[in-house]
């Protein structure tokens, strides 16, 4: 007997008991809908979380530190001198070979696959004078590549730096509000005075034992940036005062010997590979991906809990399949006897019933995914209306990727096959003589 014939017979049998088949299939559909809906919720929430992180611009960033900075601990990074005064050295085991973070390192890292940009994290200590008031800041150097990304995706007022070399600055909205609470936007186009000591002047002053004399430079404000809320810190370039990176590098004390570098990768999916490649070069690197591992584990746990809840309905509906098929076999006992008498083998009979079960599973699975999607849409719509009223950002709480659709239908068929295997075996094992006597 061919599979095609078995399929025809099985579908025909299902068609003979339309109401019962429909009800059983509906049961499976509800089970699959609840399972697919739950998993879809888990996936949707995870997508929301990940996409928000990705939009923060931190997801595709890797921070690179010189390897010898690590054993001594992060505290030394902020300290005055890596040369130290003999205290930092040899504190924790054998010293690793020192790898300086120089322009050569930047070029080296830029040649790695999937790397989009490498730039040093430069902080320029300076004082800013405006309307007779003066305050100290460590201004961050912002690379050109940051334009339109992360925190600079939208500029609150004004524009991004027009070029990399000129003395221009951007301010954080927090600082701008402190300077002019009533109308921070009016600061754009105004000029502040930056007081900064050049590297040469600082060296000379150290040699002479006198405080360095700062140089005053006028600096127009080109833009004001709202600080991105959410996870920050690593690689974040928003400081109260920001300068173009090219300009900042000429002002930094440690030229060509950077404390840390930021590596931007082409996509968040490459972060891990690039991070490994950097570590192989004897540098130490970390990214928000590391921190995300914990979150991922939490989402896996959430998915498991949600699918277990969703599975309850499916477990009940699989009992429905067993019940339907046992009933069907009872009704068709005589027919099974006839089929055996005219040459149907045990295997033929078993296959017919297994196909019936998987057909219920298939149709139930497809209908279930559709039902789950529909219910998800409705809940999503309701939830988004509520979120909007609360002033939050709307989004898809439910996500139904292709793998979930295929997985749900496949799982439905698998569950139905398992549920149908007992009735099918029972039908196959029927004694034909007894079956023929059955009314």
């Amino acid at each position: 007997m061919t599979v095609r014939d078995s399929l025809d017979l099985a579908l025909r049998n299902l068609g003979q008991a339309k109401l019962r088949t429909a009800l059983t299939t509906l049961g499976v559909a509800i089970g699959i809908a609840s399972l697919a809906g739950m998993v879809s919720l888990g996936v949707g929430l995870q997508d929301q979380f990940v996409s928000r992180l990705t939009r923060s611009g931190l997801f595709d960033s890797i921070t690179v530190l010189s390897s010898s900075d690590i054993p001594g601990g992060f505290a030394r990074l902020g300290g005055a001198g890596r040369q130290g005064f003999g205290r930092g050295r040899g504190r924790g085991g054998p010293a690793l070979p020192r790898v300086e973070l120089s322009d050569a390192t930047i070029q080296d890292l830029e040649s790695l696959p999937h790397v989009r940009d490498v730039f040093p994290n430069v902080r320029v200590p300076l004082q800013m004078r405006f309307n007779g008031e003066q305050e100290s800041f460590a201004a961050a150097g912002v690379p050109r590549s940051a334009k339109g990304e992360g925190a600079f995706r939208s500029i609150a007022y004004g524009t991004f730096f027009p070029n990399d070399a000129d003395m221009t600055c951007m301010l954080s909205l927090d600082l701008a509000k402190r300077m002019n609470d009533a109308d921070p936007a009016s600061l754009v186009g105004q000029t502040v005075t930056l007081l900064h000591a050049s590297p040469a002047a600082v060296s000379a002053a150290i040699a002479a034992g006198t405080p360095p004399a700062p140089v005053e430079t006028p600096c127009p404000i080109v833009g004001i940036v709202e600080r991105e809320t959410g996870p920050g810190g690593i690689g974040a370039q928003v400081t109260p005062v920001m300068l173009p990176l090219g300009r900042a590098r000429t002002m930094a004390l440690r030229a060509n010997n950077y404390l840390s570098l930021t590596v931007k990768v082409a996509g968040a999916q490459y972060t891990e590979d690039v991070e490994d490649a950097i570590k192989k070069k004897g540098l130490s690197a970390f990214s928000i991906n590391d921190a995300l591992q914990g979150a991922k584990r939490a989402f896996i746990l959430l998915d498991i809990v949600l699918s277990l809840i969703g599975s309850i309905a499916l477990a009940v509906s699989s009992l429905g399949i067993v019940n339907t098929m046992v009933m069907s076999i009872l009704e068709r006992t005589r027919e099974i006897g006839i089929m055996k008498a005219i040459g149907g083998s045990d295997r033929d009979i078993r296959r017919i019933f297994l196909i019936e079960a998987s057909a219920i599973g298939f149709f139930g699975g497809v209908a279930g995914v559709a039902l789950g999607w529909l219910v998800g849409r409705v809940i999503n719509f309701g939830a988004n209306v509520y979120i909007q009223q609360q002033g939050g950002t709307t989004g898809n709480l439910f996500s139904l990727p292709l793998w979930l659709i295929g997985g749900a239908v496949g799982f439905s068929i698998a569950v139905s096959l398992v549920a149908g295997s007992y009735p099918a075996a029972r039908a196959a094992k029927l004694n034909p003589i007894d079956a023929l006597r059955h009314d």
Binding site: D5, I338, G343, S345, L436
Partner: protein
């Protein structure tokens, strides 16, 4: 004489409650190709049990049952279904047609298990039904057919895979005398014209005497007259 079927000391015992029923208790018969044998006996004599064993629907407790030189007692369940598919065609007293299928579908079903392609199945079913005088009844369901018509569908089904051996268990038990005559004539034609070997169980000695070449009479699980 060539032998199509040979049983030796065939026994079929089964437990019913506390007592052991000896449905067959040492039956040894031979049937030659082309014979029309009537299997006579009262109910409980073991004639139907013997027919079921020959059909491969049941297994003997002991003894041998050879058809085409193969021992059914030694066959696996798959081999028995192969035997039912190829070697025998069974005709029942109660017709045993699938009630949800048309006459043509019932005949084709037997060929489906034998793996005959769909087109060939339909052509052959149609030809067989026409040969049974049911050309206009092919798309009718069993409930829309008379008893005699149903039994003729069953005969067509038994012939579907062209077996050598036709087994009939009280084929006219549910039919009136006129239809009985029709069906018996049909079987006789199949035997004489097509050379089918027929073993027919009946409790009616006159019917067996009229149509069969010879009769085997059973009583309490044993052959008492041949």
């Amino acid at each position: 004489m060539a032998v199509l079927l040979e049983t030796r000391d065939l026994r079929r015992h089964y437990q019913m409650g506390a007592s052991l029923v000896r449905a067959l208790d040492g039956v040894s018969i031979d049937v030659a190709p082309g014979e029309f044998v009537g299997l006579l006996g009262t109910s409980g004599s073991g004639k139907s049990t013997l027919l079921n064993l020959i059909a491969g629907l049941d297994r003997p407790t002991s003894g041998s049952l050879r058809i085409f030189d193969r021992d059914l007692a030694q066959m696996s369940s798959d081999e028995l279904s192969e035997h039912r598919r190829r070697n025998v065609g069974i005709i029942f007293q109660s017709f045993n047609l699938v009630s949800t299928m048309t006459a043509a579908e019932n005949v084709a079903l037997a060929m489906m298990f034998a793996g005959v392609p769909r087109g060939e199945r339909e052509t052959r079913a149609s030809r067989l039904l026409a040969a049974m005088g049911l050309a206009g009844r092919q798309q009718h369901r069993p409930t829309e057919l008379s008893g005699g018509e149903q039994q003729r569908v069953a005969v067509a089904r038994a012939l579907a895979n062209d077996p050598h051996l036709l087994l009939a268990d009280e084929p006219t038990g549910n039919l009136d005398s006129r239809t009985t005559r029709e069906i018996m004539t049909l079987l006789k034609t199949l035997n004489e014209r097509d050379g089918k070997t027929i073993i027919m169980v009946t409790h009616d000695p006159s019917l067996a005497g009229e149509y069969a070449h010879r009769t085997i009479t059973m009583l309490d699980g044993a052959v008492v007259g041949a």
